[in-house]
């Protein structure tokens, strides 16, 4: 697959995404700058598209980094407790401060995502039996433990409904003024690209990295910080999107390999394409209502994931 084919697909899908929704907007409607339709277009459709692009690219790259650093093809923000830790962080911030500000939520969520992922990597370091399937299973169990702690405290504090809102990955509520946090993931993605070679080397193991004079721990920490930043911005604006960080990097790895400098652009664009498709489907099938994107992603993603598991066990080793 060529990168320009992916980009053209992404552009076409972006265009479709802009003109699909409850209110019928045609490109010709935009000629009148002051019309209601133009206002809706600018306040809702454009931010939604931007959110999809940033979340799609961000989550896929976060997954790519985690798979490289954990040296396991099935580790991703959703299978290593990162997103669950971020959610726990948001909850703690709400329990801690009576009138919690957005900044406080961001800081707590980021800190928890970082520490949560770090703990998972520590667990990974200690277990002897590193089967490709066993490791993400541990991650999922670990994530569920974090998640149940969150639910318990949310129940005690009567915050269950807020919690379920973050569980639901959805672009429905994305509007101008509510998604701009996602732009923080742009520098994170650029930094990921600059560190691409270092991630590839680190992905071949500590001994291998040390042989080439790379400070392994430093690169590992940079990677985990980038993952935590991206996960936090996505959870706080869009919610949890499963599978994205898991399947997109794996599909790219199948046809392009694991040289991250080479695969990062493909991973980012394919992530965008995948999320756009899922979101457009969710908006079309029950038009004029919509299905949250995490549902369509989960349905399509789990099928792809199953195929990968069945066919790809050999390759993942």
């Amino acid at each position: 697959m060529r990168i320009w084919m992916l980009i053209i697909t992404a552009v076409v899908l972006s265009f479709i995404s802009l003109f699909v929704g409850a209110i019928d907007i045609k490109p010709s409607d935009l000629l009148d700058w002051n019309s209601d339709k133009t206002q809706i277009f600018l306040a809702s459709r454009v931010p939604r598209l931007m959110a999809i692009i940033l979340a799609g690219a961000g989550m896929s790259i976060a997954g790519l980094i985690m798979q490289s650093l954990s040296r396991n093809k099935f580790v991703s923000p959703t299978t290593a407790g990162t997103l669950d830790a971020a959610k726990l962080g948001i909850l703690i911030s709400m329990l801690f401060f009576t009138n919690v500000t957005y900044t406080q939520q961001i800081i707590f969520s980021f800190a928890f995502a970082l520490v949560g992922t770090l703990i998972f990597m520590q667990i990974l370091d200690r277990i002897k039996f590193k089967d490709v399937i066993f490791v993400p299973l541990i991650g999922i169990m670990y994530g569920n433990i974090l998640s149940s702690v969150t639910t318990f405290f949310a129940y005690e504090a009567d915050l269950i409904q807020n919690i379920s809102a973050w569980l639901m990955g959805s672009f429905t509520l994305v509007m101008a003024g509510r998604y701009e946090l996602l732009y923080i993931s742009i520098p994170a993605v650029i930094l990921a690209y600059l560190y691409a070679n270092k991630f590839t080397v680190a992905g071949m193991g500590e001994d291998f990295a040390k042989n080439l004079g790379l400070s392994y721990k430093f690169v590992l920490n940079i990677g985990l910080i980038l993952v935590a930043v991206i996960a936090t911005t996505v959870v706080l604006t869009v919610g949890v999107i499963p599978f994205l960080g898991l399947i997109v990097p794996n599909i790219v790895s199948l046809y392009l390999g694991d040289n991250i400098r080479k695969t990062i652009p493909h991973t980012a664009v394919l992530g965008i394409v995948f999320l756009l498709v899922c979101d457009i489907i969710g908006r079309i099938i029950v038009h004029p209502y919509e299905i949250p994107v995490n549902v369509t992603v989960a349905v399509i993603g789990s099928v792809i994931f199953l195929i990968m598991l069945i066919r790809g066990r050999a390759y993942a080793k």
């Binding site: 590839t200 001994d207 291998f208 042989n211 080439l212 390759y315």
Partner: protein, 258 residues
């Protein structure tokens, strides 16, 4: 010259390497041999700074390894650990290019590309340079990793059991290549070997360890004799000369039960 001075490594309270002092001569193949658990790999890891010694020090050009900048050190000494478990999907050429990482940090210059080309050619990998590592056989993959180390262009090349999982033909291939690296390119090779006969036929010097302690250290012909081998392996091993090579016939030796 690499000097090992009084190296000790404890795992818990148990010493796996105890007070080992060896000088590694330049321009030669030095083999580390000894029974299982003798501490050969641990010793090699300390030489290559993958492990820190608990006491003692390693000197490269009279300077402690700890004082070397890690990027400079990686231009002088390379280590290849048992690499069969690396499951990263890189092409042969990409892998070999990472050997230039200490010099270029990933942005290959024309000179780097030249080194990469030469290393690939040297290891006879030109035809398969765009194949992924997981499409290669064990022997080809091992050659690819050695090509990477050649591209790294270090004076010292350390290898931890490079013949593991290789059949006879590929083992011989790899050992001949290492010999060529020393004889033609003037490299210094330090290698952990399990098979005493490969050590006997291909190495210039042998360092023998047993239970973490140094038992023998000297030119190959001084070590490959029944008396020295009895001390190392607790086995009576007859030696036979074959075309100038000393072969240890250990397959039906009497072993002392311990």
């Amino acid at each position: 010259m690499i000097e090992l001075k009084g190296l000790t490594k404890l795992f818990g309270k148990k010493p796996v390497v105890e007070d080992v002092s060896v000088t590694i001569e330049s321009g030669m193949i030095t083999s580390f041999i000894g029974p299982n658990g003798a501490g050969k790999s641990t010793l090699l890891s300390m030489v290559s700074r993958l492990l820190d010694a608990d006491t003692g020090e390693v000197l490269l050009d009279k300077e402690s390894v700890k004082k070397w900048k890690s990027s400079e050190f990686s231009k002088r000494v390379s280590i290849l650990k048992q690499a069969n478990h690396i499951n990263v999907r890189l092409t042969v050429r990409e892998l070999v290019s990472f050997g230039r990482y200490p010099y270029s940090k990933g942005h290959l210059t024309a000179e780097d590309e030249k080194f990469v080309d030469q290393a690939i050619e040297y290891m006879n990998l030109t035809e398969m340079q765009d194949k992924f590592l997981d499409e290669l056989s064990g022997g080809q993959r091992q050659r690819a990793f050695i090509a990477m180390v050649i591209a790294q262009d270090t004076d010292y090349i350390l290898l931890d059991e490079p013949l593991n999982n290789l059949d006879m033909k590929h083992s011989v291939q790899i050992m001949k290549i290492l010999r060529k690296l020393v004889d033609e390119l003037g490299k210094t090779v330090v290698i952990v070997l399990h098979d005493i006969n490969f050590a006997s036929v291909y190495s210039d010097r042998i360092v023998a360890l047993k239970n973490g302690k140094l038992v023998k250290n000297g030119p190959t012909h001084e070590i490959i004799n029944s008396d020295a081998l009895r001390e190392i392996y607790d086995m009576d091993i007859p030696i036979q000369e074959q075309n100038g090579c000393r072969i240890c016939v250990y397959f039906n030796s009497h072993t002392e039960a311990k």
